[in-house]
Amino acid sequence: MRIGYPQALLYYKYFPLWETFFQRLGAEVVFSGPTNKQILSAGALEAENELCLPVKVFYGHLLSLADKVDTIFIPRFVSVEKSAYTCPKFLGLPDMARAADVELPPIIDPTINWKLGWRQYAKTVLELGKEFTGNRVKIAAAYQAGVKALQTYQERIRAGATPVDILEGKEPPRGAATLKIGLAGHPYNIYDRHTSMNLIKRLREMGAEVLTGEMLPFDVIEKEADTLPKQIFWTYEREVVGSVFHWSRNHSVDGIIYVLAFPCGPDSLIQTLMEHEMRREGSTVPMMSLVIDEHSAEAGFLTRIEAFVDMLVRKKKLNARVTH
């Protein structure tokens, strides 16, 4: 069986797990490949007007897989931890896919909801595996192998490689960087080379080392995010907030670039939230927000990044002169 796996949204977070899982169960996994101009325009055309950029991108990947595979894997991520949800768009993703005006092969849409506890999750995985084999031991082994693959992937990211490096089979650049930049934002925004206009590569070319939230241990992120009086009830936004707070409070980067997609619901709130908290704490780490959508043009984008990096370099030089 050929399973289509759209290379969008939470793909960047979990793909090694499900890829390995399906392969171990004897299926062939077909990825839709990196986002390109065609995928983006097709997605923006098909998707509901007011949806956010990453979901439009998702539609594009969906369309590019539609006639190539026997089934498409669109998990319904309701929650990945007991105390929080994911974004509502993930809760309704398989339904939105089904409503697309295009002939789609059957959709595999397991509901992943950790609010219901690990027993329910184990049941979900087992049900998913039963589509391929009746052998429970085999399913469990496939899942174990998947978890291992995911751990290896996450360890490589924590060691400094971005998912983009891993996908391209490259090592992150080593050696002295003039600047350290914290790149905050959802993995599907910052690691999508097309919609982010190759931001990571560009920053590296400007001599910066790029750090992302996925490189930080989860307990650090959680501890920082939970300093807020009311816990953020979206897991992935909590991660963004936690990593930004960590960089800002520990001065572990020279500057932060926060990439958000238009018109992301949760991001619209946490942007203001983070700006307020950093101002209140008297943070000296500069942060720039970049909003991307399907109309983003390279020139305007580049100019702002260059100006920000120039400012960080000058600030660093100035600080060095003051302290000597």
């Binding site: 007011e50 768009k89 809760l91 309704g92 009086p229 992301c264 619901g265 307020h276």
Partner: protein, 361 residues
């Protein structure tokens, strides 16, 4: 201490009544206007949803008039509404205001957590608060019932504007009622007032259901008073959301008349999981109106609203399966009345011709 709260439809009556019973000084903010909108959009995050912007505008206008304590509801997601209070507090402090924020978390997150802030400001015991809520709620429900009655009668009135006048009179009678007996009498009197509006119940009418995000549906300023607009054109309007259904502790939605579990079952083939806010309800009510033989629905929600954007994305399937016309309005601070009205007129024309086609077939 002078407490205030955001404006939203007839929510003002409910809160005023409960705060009075709790002996808390309060002032309702001025009704939402273009000025509220300007203040809100100036301070609120750029692509936050319209209700958040208007809440902020309401609070600023109330604080400029002397209020110093802001009453707001909390929540647990995944809709953004649950984080509104946190955001509003920060935005308003950044704007230089000094105030006390009173966030009431839903009782589903723990009764103690729900009662604590109310106890703090009112100095009342759990028992007293319970009594106030038990006596105040039927009155609030009364307002909703009167509103519903006016909504369903308006299209039959002989003189345009009579029903709205009668509703106003019925409401002010109920607002004065205090004891359970007075409330009961006032509701009955209100029903009689609306009932006595001269009308022609046999007049053929187009039937339209109003679904979508609660704030947009409930607040006439942002929906351009669509209920009256439709009613005055002889359109029978049914609404899926009422204030007390929305904040009510039961899941039966007595005013609108459906239960949450029935809605979930109805929406399931199109939306297999809740998505927060009114996502499921919008889809389910659309189906319900189709099954009840309505001519079409009007779906309204704020621009960038996550749950209802998902609902909109799946609703074309409902429309196809039930051969049921729908029109969607995404509302933000840029939305102009003329554009909405033009589209509504075209939509009504379509409904009329569709019904004629069916009659001749």
């Amino acid at each position: 201490m002078l407490m205030t709260f955001p404006q939203m439809g007839n929510l003002e009556y409910l809160l005023a009544d409960i705060l009075e019973r709790l002996d808390i000084d309060y002032m309702a903010p001025p009704r939402t206007t273009a000025k509220t909108m300007a203040l809100g959009t100036k301070h609120a995050p750029e692509f936050s949803c319209l209700p958040l912007k208007l809440n902020i505008g309401n609070f600023i206008e109330a604080m400029d008039a002397g209020a110093d304590t802001l009453l707001m509801a909390g929540g647990k997601g995944p809709c953004r509404f649950g984080y509104y209070a946190e955001l509003e507090e920060r935005v308003l402090r950044d704007a230089g205001y000094d105030f006390d924020m009173l966030t009431i978390e839903p009782p589903t997150l723990g009764i103690a957590k729900f009662l604590k802030p109310i106890k703090r400001v009112s100095g009342k015991s759990t028992r007293q608060i319970w009594r106030v809520l038990r006596e105040g709620f039927p009155k609030a429900r009364g307002f909703d019932h009167l509103e519903k009655m006016a909504l369903e009668r308006r299209c039959f009135e002989l003189t345009i504007g009579d029903t709205t006048k009668a509703l106003k009179q019925a409401r002010s009678g109920l607002a004065r009622a205090k004891t359970p007996k007075e409330v009961g009498d006032a509701i009955e009197a209100g029903v009689d007032i609306i009932d006595s509006v001269p009308h022609d119940a046999d007049r053929p009418v187009i039937k339209v259901g109003l679904v979508g995000e609660f704030y947009i549906i409930l607040e006439p300023f942002v929906n351009f008073d669509i209920e009256e607009w439709l009613g005055h054109r002889g359109v029978y309007v049914s609404r899926s959301v009422y204030v007390t259904d929305w904040i009510g502790p039961s899941t039966k939605n007595p005013v609108a008349g459906t239960s949450d579990s029935a809605l979930i079952d109805l929406a399931a083939p199109y939306l297999g999981h809740f998505v927060g806010g009114e996502g499921t309800a919008s889809v389910a009510h659309a189906i319900l109106y189709a099954q009840e033989g309505f001519d079409g629905i009007v779906h309204m929600f704020p621009f960038t609203c996550m749950p209802d954007t998902i609902a909109k994305a799946v609703m074309p399937r409902v429309s196809r399966d039930y051969d049921f016309p729908m029109i969607h309005f995404t509302i933000d601070e840029q939305t102009g009345k003329a554009g909405v009205v033009t589209r509504l007129e075209a939509f009504l024309d379509l409904l009329v011709s569709k019904r004629r086609a069916r009659q001749y077939a």
